[in-house]
Symmetry: C4
Subunit: 202 residues, 4 copies
């Protein structure tokens, strides 16, 4: 005999799921900064310190890329909220999706510290790929079940297509990482460019 808690109406209110989502995004976006390390040792000269400051530039670039990607995923999540109902499957897809969102500060640190190895890049790329894929699955599942708001139905197709951008760009980044690890993550700069000039989101 399964306990059907839903019968006593103990569903998770949409606004508290949003609070958790917004909270995890705000924290993940702010923790990204920990990928830019403060050296624990002292420097021998001002020249040494200048070299360190210059070495920060690629780390700041990857911080920049990750921050923009998380901002875009956060914005995308609002699209998800034209979904009018949430069932157990959708909730779990979202939790696993959040798990990969919260992993981004680690992936970013990996690329930031060990960008010369293609495995760092592939780790980062797979992280972004999974985020994009889960979001794609989420939307398609919701459409199939008839859970999206009526006004969003005519836009189903272009949304489905646009949800493919992130996983596809991540696959391109993986391919590129074998050629040049340093270039791999810069491919993701295409995502904000697509969002700004093609999708004209919000």
């Amino acid at each position: 005999m399964a306990l059907k808690r839903s019968k006593i109406n103990i569903t998770i209110p949409k606004d508290r799921l949003e609070t958790l989502v917004d909270g995890i995004f705000a924290i993940a976006m702010t923790l990204l900064v920990l990928s830019i390390e403060i050296p624990s040792a002292e420097f021998h000269s001002t020249a040494d310190f200048q070299i360190y400051i210059i070495s920060l530039l690629p780390k700041i670039l990857i911080y920049f890329i990750s921050f923009i990607l998380l901002a875009i995923f956060w914005m995308n999540h609002h699209v998800f909220f034209v979904i009018k109902r949430v069932n157990s499957a959708i909730l779990w897809i979202n939790i696993i999706w959040l798990m990969f969102i919260a992993l981004v500060p680690f992936s970013t640190s990996l690329v930031s510290s060990f960008g010369q190895y293609e495995f760092s890049q592939i780790f980062f790329d797979l992280n972004i790929f999974t985020i994009g894929l889960l979001f794609y699955i989420n939307w398609n599942y919701a459409v199939k079940r008839g859970y999206i708001a009526e006004k969003a139905i005519p836009y189903d197709k272009p949304i489905k297509k646009s949800n493919l951008f992130t996983p596809l760009i991540a696959l391109a980044a993986i391919a590129l990482s074998f050629i040049n690890p340093y270039l791999s993550s810069t491919v993701f700069l295409f995502i904000p460019i697509i969002y700004i000039f093609y999708l004209k989101i919000i």
Copy 2:
């Protein structure tokens, strides 16, 4: 002469307790990622780096387990909010419960870094056990005092039973840690399985 502040209606509004709870969960869930360490030293070769990347897999598994557990505890807490009143005892049970929630990133790091020692596993298992036990006490106390919403009363018994799952599985994990420390925390994977297939929560 005791100061009865409640008389002047300075009780903590339920929505702000929820904000604190959601905040602590969002942060604890995101801090889990710090259990996956970035080495500070350089690697001698690409092969060395590959070994490091492979060594991340069990750390990611324990990150996965802890994230899912915290997500389930967060969902459970919504069940708690069919409780219609909060008194001083319930508030303090909740604060101590939150203290053990906020301890999970440390326990996770301990298992992640020193999983070969059964004491790490027992520490983690006891942390989860205490969280489950406090939640069990919380519900039973609220029922005894007549603080739960009327519509939830017929579901009291199955909820009580389901609240025993977490502490019991934690005890099983402690027992298992003496046989094989590495297997201990994987026992917790039963919790999401139970929630998804048996309890059909939300």
Copy 3:
């Protein structure tokens, strides 16, 4: 010519100040866990690891004390919100107060790592003292200006008295730290005891 922005009604809404306050408390409470360190070195034997686990106990006690103190300060802050108006002075008192709240994870780490030195204890004690003092000033200033809600006026005197507890206990802790540094922070355990048994808050 001073720019009176208040004329165009760009005051900070009370609910967003609450969001910031709740956010900083949730984060500070969760960051406390970083005071319990994960050693970076490997252990030579299981016995060594057991010694480490036992050495965690005082660190967990100070984590416990700080968590409870922050929880009490957070609850106290709700009392503040019977204040019906916020002016520039009150806002700045609150921001400086939050600055000392956000400092608690550092003070806690200091006592956790270097509890044998009385200067660690005094640093921690002064941190708590300042938090208590600013809260005391905040309330007295609001009363003088007539900013508190009418229903709270008959309770002004007992609230004023209760606001003295934290700074006075902090002073006692400073005195004690010269006799025995280890005992100093345990004095703060009186604060939850007073709140639970004497003040019967909430």
Copy 4:
């Protein structure tokens, strides 16, 4: 064919943008405390520990300055919300602005650990300069597009002028860093002074 998501009204609700902004500020303000380091090594004597405690004072001063600056930027952001509409350009200006807000804990750590080098100071100063500049651009763009609330229009000029304070003081700090790195960041203390005595904000 561009997908006009705005047509299906999937714009980001103002209250969720506020949640993200408040979240990032609360976290960045609390992470500042990580700039005050706990040494990992043991001390040889009580005298050594006292020297360490005294060496914390400039680190606490820079923590203080950064906390106050972030608090002021957070308050300023409320001014922004007399803007009645948000378009894609404003959203992206805000996201890049948040990226530099989230960078402040790093810049603060840099000055805290390596304040003797002018490059640390310049890094910090440029961070604050960019935050101020983006805020200035944000307001001017919103005014030009007619997006600000009517009641705010007569205050456009003094707000524009006051938005110049932060970038100008940051430029002064850069100039000063070449003369004396240690004095550079203290220049920012003028910002709270201006806000309290001249702008009389809120």
